[in-house]
Subunit: 314 residues, 2 copies
Amino acid sequence: MERFLALDIGGTKIAVGRFLRNGKLEDKKIFPTKAERGYKKILDEIVENIKRLKTNDTVALGIGCGGPLDSKEGVILSPPNLPGWDNVPLKKDLESALNIPVFLDNDANTACLGEYYFGAGKGVRNLVYITVSTGIGGGIIIDGKILHGQRDSAGEVGHQTIIPDGPLCNCGNKGCLEALASGTAIAKRAKEAILKGEDTILREWSKEGNISAELVRRAYLQGDKISEKIWKDALEYLGIGVGNIITIISPERVILGGGIMKAGEEVLETVRRVVRERVKLVPIDKVEIVLSKLGEEVGLYGALALALTEMEAR
Amino acid sequence: MERFLALDIGGTKIAVGRFLRNGKLEDKKIFPTKAERGYKKILDEIVENIKRLKTNDTVALGIGCGGPLDSKEGVILSPPNLPGWDNVPLKKDLESALNIPVFLDNDANTACLGEYYFGAGKGVRNLVYITVSTGIGGGIIIDGKILHGQRDSAGEVGHQTIIPDGPLCNCGNKGCLEALASGTAIAKRAKEAILKGEDTILREWSKEGNISAELVRRAYLQGDKISEKIWKDALEYLGIGVGNIITIISPERVILGGGIMKAGEEVLETVRRVVRERVKLVPIDKVEIVLSKLGEEVGLYGALALALTEMEAR
């Protein structure tokens, strides 16, 4: 029986798993990244854990990692959440340590593949996966294949301009979807409201800890008007961004994942309404907008899906 | 020697041409659509002209026509510029009249294919063609194939939202790229400025005839400040729209065509500058932004490219 390994590298934790070809998880291990250790030490711990999981019939390893990276060469190019990972040849390093083929792609792309193989993307050939959490990222599958674009940069759906003179985004542009609708953007709007002296329960709550998007939503659900406006504006912008993607690509399905999706149905309803209001040239009854099915497991399943796809393509 | 026929159906004129496989145009005929005649009479004139051009070694006919349409079935679905063309089976009608295979796609897609085979799209596999004239449309080629999307609606790049509460678009949405940067939008802004009593030479000119985008540009080049702002704002929005497409798809090349491209280099320069300012996650030095090479010939060459592609795929 052929087995596959999957590796999901995040800025706070790293997960490795061993799967059967059909997606059955046999064993997994999660450990903290402790990113400040730098590449070499983290690589050692990854190898150690993978060797423990690896069987003689393991045929390949798939990896999802935050970009920028070069998926073809298997090189990581200085992602913001992994200090010191500058041009590190992760694929080559793991191939020589493990003696099996290793495949790498950015985590939004692997997440998209994961949903396509094992989750909410089954049964269609053209889909977009959007993750909304601290940032907004995405992956696009056209005709069953990940769209990579120039240096693996396709699918950066969070950095479309929605308001030309809108708030500054981390990327340097103004009015990006990410600067309007991500968890970070929601928390930032809330902090600005507190600073401006607006009448909100968040002022009290902020004394006990950091303001998060989740806290803003909780305040809104308790009747806080300022929080309601911040939350609902963000979802409205998300709907506009999703609408633009549908207008350009006209996919069969759009899958929404990431932390903000804990507010599942409310987010879906708003996004679907805004898309109905704004997208007039695509038959939107043919475009399903659904929630991620893999949730927090999307990282490992995505890395597995990458390994499966690449081995099939050989 | 195999020959191919191409048919370009527009709201004001219709062109038919006979080509060699290598793209050499042997003969063509252009006649006015006179759209008010309705489908049957126009079809008769099309058939008559094609029969005159058709040789014994003609293997297929490709057609580009304004959408909406169903490219697979070859049916035209009530395009706004062809009254009475409601669910007309153009492919079937022409196949029975001509006894050769007939292929249909919307004119933005065929234009994209035309540039890909014979014009500014040669040598790449992922490209976007954008036409800016009275409206803004587009076609997308991924991995050498037209992206059709749901019911041939992909590539409607003119209907992405750029300003959520912007001017109403013909499509029903607010703040679409088309409502901000098309020739129609530019002319509309100018007429509004005249109505508002703003200080512009266009007031004088409007007494002699209708205000067009070209007239606005001429006024700007003569030093008219109001016209300058209208014109430059439109190009800025076009740059934002092109930037969003690049951010999402990360193509190798973006080709700009349509009437507004008569202002060629100025448009290119602005679009490139705005893209450099706003697109931060795609390596934009890898994305070429160029002008259409086929110009007004793109209709016929696009229809030819469709026939060539479809016959190859058989």
